[in-house]
């Protein structure tokens, strides 16, 4: 029947239309579904542990890591370092030019940066930071030495509101890297510089709104003995690759916990999000990874170094007229064979086993595998060998002449000296104890004392009343930033600081190396110089290295965009890290 046919046709037609509609509907639905998966990354919080209270919120004055660790998120420099590639990237400066002779640098500053109180950032702030703060003699800024070469400072000038000119006295290879130093707000601090109260400015009792920075976070709260809270800076200039406002995480909390066990427990029970894993903690934490939903990141060796140094300071104490170091002891410490023998009794393998449950590394030089390009793996390695050490000492005239088990030197003086370390680290005290034991096996009489940190530092850099000290320094990839330790007139040239002219040929050579390498802009040409420096150190042993810990962190699995790296740790890109949706 005709009517039927028409109906069938209509049906097919409708069906087709329906099918098309369905397909279109599904596509549309799929699109909106895709929209729903991109959630707003902003929000959430990240909880760290701090082992002690900060002592200041003033980055120029603050020296301890308890302060600088917090303050680092509040301020920024003209440049910043990429946590993975270690390249220098633009930060407050969006671009720069260098003159042909390498001495003049022009930085073009961003024009969209505001201080957290709304005042626009400008070249005035950069000029203020250098000329009024870093180079100000009345202010004990630790950065000053880095920016002073051969006694000459940089000329820092404002060209216009967003352009700054630096004129260097000589070429300075780490210049761009050093420009990561934080810039301070002129409008908030100028008055305190003028009335000479800057050194007390921004202490821990400062109202939080007064602390003004350009960085991704602001200080929101400091509860003494308990915690420090940072909140995201709503005026922060940086945007993600997708154009999103940064930082993503709303709050950063530092929980102050002195007791390492308690901080471990707090991590396990979920109160903190990240925790440093010592070698001894690893066996407790690692098996719980799946159950407690976190990840342990083993990022290779820590940067930094730990060493024993003997006091070779030959000078007289101006107050008493007597030498700083007993001349008898001085003759031992200045004797390379003596130091070589000591280097042979550092039982690195067992020290790593005992203090770190074998999660650590022996250290042979100031730069380590984590230090990147300038690490020299071919330095002299002194293996643990008590017999060899005894032989070296005997040949050098240190013999146990009267059979009492203690060595005497050529003049018959009993080899006895004091040995200090600081009280803050249980690991370090253990290492020092072990070394002490082995030195006594050798036949030396060692008076071991644990001193409070400030006291130890005062001995090292002020009153020079010490014989042997075990201490550690933080490290980095740029050798020049450690210059104060290695140049002969450096303040931190512990074994013989502040020399007017180099006391030995090898120290003179190191001075030359540092002077030449800093001016060499080509990394490939810098490397052989720094390699030579590390070799000299391992030959002349002004310091004797011990062991290095492993940089292991445990982090809760609630964060996205984590890019852990050897040099940056887990949170070097903190602004881009966000809390995953399911953990809100």
């Amino acid at each position: 029947m005709k009517r039927n046919n028409r109906n069938i046709l209509n049906f097919k037609d409708t069906a087709k239309k329906l099918l098309i509609l369905l397909v279109v509907f599904l596509c549309v639905d799929h699109l909106s579904f895709a929209q729903e998966t991109t959630f707003d990354k902003h929000g959430g919080q990240l909880v760290f542990t701090a082992t002690s209270d900060p002592r200041s919120f003033n980055p120029i004055i603050a020296k301890e890591s308890s302060s600088s660790g917090v303050v680092g998120y509040l301020f920024e420099g003209l440049t910043k370092i990429d946590g993975i590639t270690l390249e220098v990237l633009p930060s407050l400066a969006k671009s720069w030019e260098i003159s042909r002779d390498g001495l003049t640098w022009i930085f073009h500053l961003r024009d969209d940066v505001l201080w957290s109180d709304g005042v626009p950032f400008s070249a005035d702030d950069v000029v203020f930071t250098f000329n009024d703060l870093i180079y100000n003699d009345a202010i004990p800024s630790s950065a000053r030495d880095i920016f002073t070469i051969d006694g000459k400072i940089f000329k820092v000038e404002k060209v216009d509101a967003h352009t700054v000119k630096f004129v260097l006295p000589i070429r300075f290879a780490p210049f761009l890297r050093s420009m990561a130093t934080g810039i301070m707000p002129k409008h908030a601090l100028k008055s305190s510089v003028d009335d000479r109260t800057f050194n007390f400015k921004w202490g821990i009792d400062t109202p939080v709104s007064e602390i003004v920075g350009t960085g991704p976070y602001l200080l929101e709260l400091y509860q003494p003995g308990q915690r420090i809270i940072l909140r995201a800076n709503p005026l922060y200039w940086e945007k993600s690759d997708q154009g999103e406002r940064l930082p993503f995480i709303d709050r950063i909390v530092f929980l102050i916990v002195q007791n390492q066990d308690v901080s471990l427990l707090k991590f396990l029970e979920g109160e903190t999000d990240s925790c440093r894993v010592r070698g001894t903690d690893y066996a407790l934490l690692k098996p719980l990874e799946k159950e407690k939903n976190f990840t342990v990141y083993d990022l290779g060796s820590e940067s930094g170094n730990s060493f024993i140094v003997f006091n070779q300071n030959p000078r007289l104490n101006p107050k008493t007229g007597k030498p700083f170091v007993d001349p008898v002891k001085l003759s031992w410490f200045q004797n390379l064979e003596f130091r070589k023998a000591v280097a042979h009794v550092i039982d690195k393998k067992r020290i790593v086993e005992i203090t770190m449950n074998n999660l650590g590394y022996p250290q042979y030089g100031t730069m380590n595998p984590n230090s990147g390009l300038f690490y020299n793996p071919n330095v002299i390695k002194y293996e643990y060998d008590l017999k060899k050490a005894k032989q070296i000492l005997n040949s050098a005239g240190f013999i146990d002449r009267d059979g009492d088990g203690i060595l005497e030197d050529k003049e018959g003086n009993v080899v006895e000296f004091n040995f200090f370390t600081n009280s803050n680290g249980a690991e370090r005290i253990q290492i020092a104890s072990i070394v002490r034991h082995d030195l006594e096996e050798l036949g030396m009489r060692v008076n071991f004392l644990v001193l409070e940190f400030n006291n130890l530092v005062a001995k090292l850099i002020a009153n020079y009343e010490w014989d042997a000290i075990l201490i550690g320094l933080t490290g980095g990839i740029e050798p020049h930033f450690g210059k104060n330790v290695w140049v002969s007139d450096g303040q931190l040239h512990f074994w013989n600081p502040g020399q007017e002219k180099p006391a030995t040929k090898w120290e003179a050579r190191i001075d030359e190396i540092f002077s030449a390498a800093v001016q060499e802009l080509d990394d490939k040409k810098r490397k052989p110089l720094y390699d030579e420096w590390q070799m000299i150190v391992s030959q002349e042993l002004p310091v004797i290295y011990t062991v290095l810990g492993a940089g292991v962190s445990a982090v809760r699995n609630k964060f996205g965009n984590l890019k852990p790296s050897l040099h940056g740790g887990v949170f070097h890109n903190l602004e881009e890290i966000y809390v995953k949706e399911e953990y809100r």
């Binding site: 070698g279 086993e353 005992i354 074998n358 005290i429 072990i434 034991h437």
Partner: protein, 364 residues
């Protein structure tokens, strides 16, 4: 036949002897102090003898059956150290290497009671074997040996410190109560001042006053002095109260009338009557000294490495990691506890025995 009556002291001792728990405690303390005196001989190793291959070695099993299923001289096997993938220590017993335990074996040198040098030890194994009956610490030092050597310091600090407090507390309290007046006032004010300072804080402050250059022996003496300084004040106060009431007694007045010197009166007539209280106070304060030393060592302010004291042995052990993976390290804590509880029980029993007013409590 006239029966000689018992003096109050003898009656007190009889009561004390009836308390079997207290007698047991006296026995335990005798063993502890005896072991401490002969620590050098009884321990297989010196306190400083370390072997890093035995770091955190667990207590070793002593076997008496050899591979042929026969009874033999007790022996231990070699323990081999390795780390698993979690960096946890694993010790495996190597049954192919065994070391028999010998008695009166030659070992580390020491001085018997600090005077006579000797190298004989009660028991031990021959090198290269190693004997750790109660395990080893982080450096591979024998825990049993360090416990015995540590006992010397921890147990003696209590006794010596308490003796000094006791001596000064009695004397000054007696003088203050007997003379009365301005002297009494001044001395009591001083006592109150010392007692007003929170004990722990005072201990910290005094410890900080000790120059850092002191070697361990000097620190040991300084700690004793610090504790005695804190301790004499409370004893003096009570003695003074007793002296005030005692000086009205007839025999005291008689002695005075006879012209006996004041000091003699105090020492022969007044103080002996305070003995019962004093002894109890002494017994009950020794635990405080032992705890104080452990607290100081725990904070790193007491006896330092390599010397052993129960306090610093315990401080090495106080960590979640240690409790979980090497619990034998906590033994010093148990010994501190044992010593303190013994002193407490003895002191309590002595008080019950010496103070007649409490006697009725024990009866029906």
């Amino acid at each position: 036949m006239i029966k000689k009556g018992l003096s109050p002291f003898q009656m007190a001792m009889a009561t004390f002897r009836k308390n079997r728990l207290a007698i047991a405690c006296v026995g335990i303390l005798a063993v502890l102090y005896g072991s401490a005196i002969f620590a050098g001989f009884l321990s297989p190793y010196s306190y400083d003898n370390e072997n890093r291959e035995f770091s955190y070695c667990p207590p070793m099993k002593v076997h008496v059956i050899d591979s042929d299923r026969k009874l033999t001289r007790p022996y231990v096997n070699q323990m081999n150290l390795s780390f698993d993938k979690f960096h946890k220590r694993i010790y495996t017993e190597d049954k192919t290497k065994s070391f028999p335990i010998h008695f009166f074996i030659k070992g580390d040198s020491y001085k018997v009671i600090g005077l006579v040098p000797s190298t004989r030890h009660f028991f031990g194994v021959k090198v290269p074997g190693r004997l750790h009956l109660w395990g080893a610490d982080s450096r591979g030092r024998d825990l049993l040996s360090r416990l015995l050597w540590g006992a010397r310091i921890s147990l003696s600090i209590g006794l010596i410190g308490v003796s000094i407090s006791f001596f000064f507390g009695l004397l000054i309290g007696g003088i203050s109560g007997y003379y009365g007046g301005k002297i009494d006032n001044l001395i009591m004010r001083m006592c109150e001042m010392i007692m007003m300072i929170p004990g722990f804080y005072l201990m910290l402050a005094l410890r900080a006053a000790v120059p850092t250059e002191f070697n361990s022996l000097q620190v040991y003496i300084a700690i004793i002095v610090i504790f005695s300084f804190i301790g004499w004040a409370s004893l003096a106060r009570v003695i003074r109260g007793m002296a005030i009431s005692l000086k009205q007694r007839e025999y005291v007045l008689a002695a005075k009338a006879l012209g006996v010197s004041d000091i003699k009166i105090i020492t022969t007539h007044i103080l002996p009557h305070t003995i019962s209280y004093s002894i109890v106070a002494v017994m009950l304060s020794i635990p405080g000294y032992i705890m104080g030393e452990s607290a100081l060592s725990f904070l790193g302010l007491g006896i330092q490495d390599p010397y052993a004291s129960w306090g610093n042995l315990l401080s090495e052990a106080m960590g979640i990691i240690q409790i979980k993976f090497s619990p034998w390290i906590l033994l010093p804590g148990f010994f501190i506890f044992l010593t303190i509880i013994c002193f407490n029980i003895i002191g309590d029993a002595l008080r019950d025995a010496l103070d007649p007013t409490l006697k009725s409590e024990g009866q029906s």
